[in-house]
């Protein structure tokens, strides 16, 4: 047999994403690539706790928002570099994830999902009323000299893209590593049945907690980047249920529990919503979201396993033939 040169599909994906902004120099396109990386990365993070471990979170905006606010407040109040803020935000989000989700892990299914939603809403309310962080008014991040230290770039979006790409890669590789190793097996065992998992020695609470903490940490990193990119945040932007649900939607749309799912989902939804906003959003009538909503309904109805389901079906057909051939 001929030995074919074969690259890991992830390497191909990374390569394509990385060169795209250098091929297409359009500023809108660069913006879309950055938003794509942020949301695909958030999807990867969310996938760890919900896709792998089966614990549905409707409150990931909380971790995203904590990341955004930690670096922003430190920069705004004390001129601390957003990089240090990012690290502190990650630590804080991880801590919050541990403290609030630990008592929730005894809740099953929807009860857990609603609890995450409630927690995120409470955190939002706190930030809306908290004067030190400028409450509902939000914070405009002071414009400083551009450069890596301030994580601000005013002449080109490429540096933002590269930072987003770096964090995205870390998120994907983390999810990939988890999936391929002991922790991935354990999380999937927890998803498919808590009792069976406990019986073979899996400390289900501990592993769910780890998954939630890792997921929160990654989400927070994107929060900092988002704040530095938009240069303005308020609680309604970063803590809103819309962010939580967007993460859920794109991952489920692409394929829940697969590292390719969020990438596929974000690659469809983000350009769709950003381009429709650019072309139709000017009317201020929400045509973009009408199309968006209808599309999601259509995918759910006709491709219930997500876009990835189409590929899987093809593969199964092929494998089915092979299996039949092997047994006859």
């Amino acid at each position: 047999m001929m030995k074919k040169m074969k690259f890991h599909p992830l390497l191909v994906i990374f390569f394509v994403i990385l060169i795209l902004p250098f091929i297409n120099d359009n500023i809108n396109f660069h913006h879309i690539m950055i938003m794509f990386l942020i949301y695909a990365g958030l999807g990867e993070a969310w996938n760890i706790i919900t896709g792998f471990a089966g614990q549905t979170s409707f409150g990931h905006a909380a971790f995203f928002g904590i990341g955004a606010y930690t670096s922003t407040v430190l920069f705004y109040r004390m001129h601390i570099s957003p990089w240090a803020g990012m690290i502190l935000g990650i630590l804080l989000a991880t801590l919050v994830a541990a403290v609030v989700s630990y008592p929730c892990f005894k809740l099953k299914g929807h009860y857990f999902a609603i609890a995450t939603l409630a927690i995120a809403e409470i955190i939002k309310q706190i930030f809306i009323s908290w004067e030190y962080v400028e409450g509902a008014t939000g914070i405009s991040i002071p414009v400083m000299d551009e450069g890596i230290l301030n994580m601000q770039f005013h002449t080109s979006k490429i540096p933002y893209f590269l930072i987003a790409f770096a964090i995205f890669s870390i998120a994907v590789l983390t999810a990939h590593y988890i999936e391929q190793n002991k922790m991935g097996f354990y999380l999937k065992a927890i998803r498919e049945g808590g009792d069976a998992a406990e019986a073979i020695g899996i400390d289900t609470v501990k592993y769910k907690l780890f998954a939630m903490m890792i997921s929160a940490a990654l989400s927070a990193a994107f929060g900092t980047l988002y704040a530095q990119y938009i240069l303005y945040i308020d609680p309604f932007m970063v803590f809103t249920m819309d962010v939580s649900m967007k993460i859920v939607l794109l991952t489920v749309l692409g394929g829940l529990g697969s590292i390719y799912g969020p990438i596929i989902g974000a690659a469809i939804l983000i350009p769709l919503s950003e381009y429709t906003r650019i072309f139709l959003g000017g009317t201020g009538k929400g045509v973009d979201l009408i199309i968006f909503g209808a599309l999601i309904v259509a995918v759910a109805c006709f491709e219930p396993e997500g876009i990835l389901g189409i590929f899987k079906k093809g593969q199964r057909k092929k494998r089915g033939v092979d299996y039949a051939r092997a047994t006859t």
């Binding site: 391929q180 190793n181 002991k182 097996f185 354990y186 999937k188 065992a189 498919e192 049945g193 009792d195 069976a196 998992a197 406990e198 019986a199 073979i200 020695g201 899996i202 400390d203 289900t204």
Partner: protein, 247 residues
């Protein structure tokens, strides 16, 4: 006399006003096959759940290898080397057979290669090797029961607790299961087995514990248990007598 491997002392478990287990005491020594029998609703599965930490008993203690495991979470006893299977099999449906068993093997190793080796070895032992890449959901019930045992074995237990691992199997499959139990005993694994099929369990058991209405009514070698008046009255009835005379 050496200290028993599993020591169950005075377990009582209630659901509301229903007493499922009442002051049950028994022990399993290292290397034994002990079977736990009793009519439907005698409290066997409840007792399993109390021993392995799925339920917290109202009173009584459970010691494994000298360590108090009462009301400890199930994963704690599994780590100590006490692993159970479920009467209603719980395959990890979206994983393949091999991945199911690897998940068990990860208890003793973090390396994927090592887990894979352990899994393949156990799949050979349980005659599942040729189905290793089949999704667990598509197995027959007999194979799912085997997988349940295989996954438990992959945790390298000192002692294995099987909850009706033979129910629903045909004669050849039961023979296979009996062979497997004896094979495990030779490997030094202690077994506690809940079973309904007397013909299968009596020949391989070193000792039989009988539960009736939550209470222990007998604890003896198989020959004595089958002739025990109370046991016959409570449970075995004519059926086993008739069958054992025939053979």
């Amino acid at each position: 006399m050496p200290e028993p491997l599993l020591d169950v002392r005075g377990i009582t478990m209630k659901f509301g006003s229903l007493v499922a287990n009442e002051d049950v005491t028994f022990a399993v020594n290292e290397g034994e096959i002990v079977s736990l029998i009793g009519p439907n609703g005698a409290g066997k599965t409840t007792l399993f759940n109390c021993i392995t930490g799925f339920y917290k008993p109202h009173s009584g203690r459970v010691f494994f290898n000298g360590i108090d495991i009462t009301a400890k979470p199930p994963h704690y006893s599994a780590r100590l080397g006490l692993t159970r299977t479920f009467q209603i099999v719980k395959p990890l449906k979206e994983m393949t057979v091999k991945e199911n068993v690897m998940t068990g093997a990860f208890l003793r190793t973090s390396g994927k290669k090592q887990a894979e080796l352990t899994a393949m070895e156990i799949l050979e032992l349980t005659h599942l090797a040729e189905k290793s890449d089949v999704p667990a959901a598509s197995l027959t019930i007999a194979d799912k029961k085997r997988l349940e045992i295989a996954r438990a074995l992959a945790t390298r237990p000192k002692m294995l607790m099987l909850d009706e691992a033979m129910a629903g199997l045909n004669q050849t499959e039961i023979k296979d299961a009996m062979e497997l139990c004896l094979g495990l005993k030779r490997k030094g694994i202690t077994l506690l087995v809940v079973e309904h099929i007397m013909e299968a369990i009596m020949p391989i058991s070193d000792r039989v514990v009988v539960l009736n209405a939550g209470k222990k009514i007998a604890d003896d070698v198989p020959e004595n248990v089958t002739s025990n008046e109370e046991v016959i009255k409570a449970y075995l009835g004519e059926r086993y007598n008739a069958k054992s005379k025939k053979s």
